[in-house]
Amino acid sequence: MGVPYVPVFGLVGTDLLKRRDDMVLAPDPFDGKTISVVAKAMRPDVAVFHVDRADRQGNVSCGYPVEAVILAEASQHVIVTAEEVVDRLDEKDAIGAFVPSILVDAVVHAPFGSHPAGMTGRYGPDKVHMQQYVAASRDDAAFAQYLRTYVFDVESHADYVERFVPRELQRPSRAA
């Protein structure tokens, strides 16, 4: 939208407001009386999101309906990771949300980039890995170990897919 802030109905009197400095109470500037929450606009420096297909110019077919367009519009820079990179993608060929290339700075080819979550139309979630993640998140040491194994000690995305994406997820017949 490009506006500095936006008023919203709701949230007045909640403890949520005590923890946030990007939402405050403010009077209606027209009547000077009515109070509502005013939320500061979010302007991320960089947005990164994973999609189904992108072309070399940065046109994006998300693969399912998702709020990617407002995210891309709000952010200074946009990096898209894609299951598949094609030569040319037109809006009419898009599945779900379409993000035009003018909003996108970089496209990265990253098959299985949603793992361990699933990717609509391609593969389901890796439930075994998800359980490991939940277990690891219970304490800091276990989580640090998780990060070492699955993030810091991984050489490349291809290395990650090779080592950690189960073979049965990589077969098209298991598509979600």
Binding site: F9, G10, L11, G13, T14, D15, L16, S36, E67, G96
Partner: protein, 247 residues
Amino acid sequence: MSVRLDYSEAELMAVLMSREVRDGEVSACGALSQLPAAGLLLAKELHAPNAELIILNTIFRPFHTSRQFHFLAQRGELGLFFASGVQIDRHGNYNLHQIGTDPERPEVRFPGGYGGGMIYYCARRTVVFRTEHTRRSLVERVDFISAAGSSPANVLRLGNPSKLITPKANFRFEKDEARLRLDSVHPSYTVEEIRENTGFDLGVTEPVATTPAPTAEELRVLRSVVRSKMIETGTYAVWAERSLGSS
């Protein structure tokens, strides 16, 4: 008590929720809401054929993105919404964030949510429900206010909570007093049992009305039409198969 009821708790709550739906209104529930989903579908079969239903994350939704749902609510087009919280207090505040009052060290952390804290002020009526009627869930004061039951008069607000539904009783929200008051006790329960299991003053002098039990017709449609519809459309299908008609 030893009275044998011919319906389950889940069926009772779904029927009670269906009675809150008005014909022609937009009525909605969020994700992870099997009871309201069943209630909404039941109302549509019985007394509200023209109700427009929104059951998030199912095929019963007019649009795909949360942005559209957000602005539908902000425009005041939601007639009825169903919400739940881990704690609900006397003033109609509910807590979907945490147990324990220290924000840095909660005893238990829940998903929280912006949506409920917004919709609670926008939907014309919100029915709060809780499947556990105990003193730990119905409290004098919630540990964390995720959504406030009432607001000062100068606050922009389109709607309020209207009712609290549990497996044991219905409470109505008194807007002028900003409090919940026991409205009716479900069949087989006594006011004394409700008092023992509620962490706030019931605000009533006896006698208190008994909630009309689910009718044979309500139960028949719930167990046949609604159950099949939920299974066929993948709307909490596993839950519907297990919980409706198997009592």
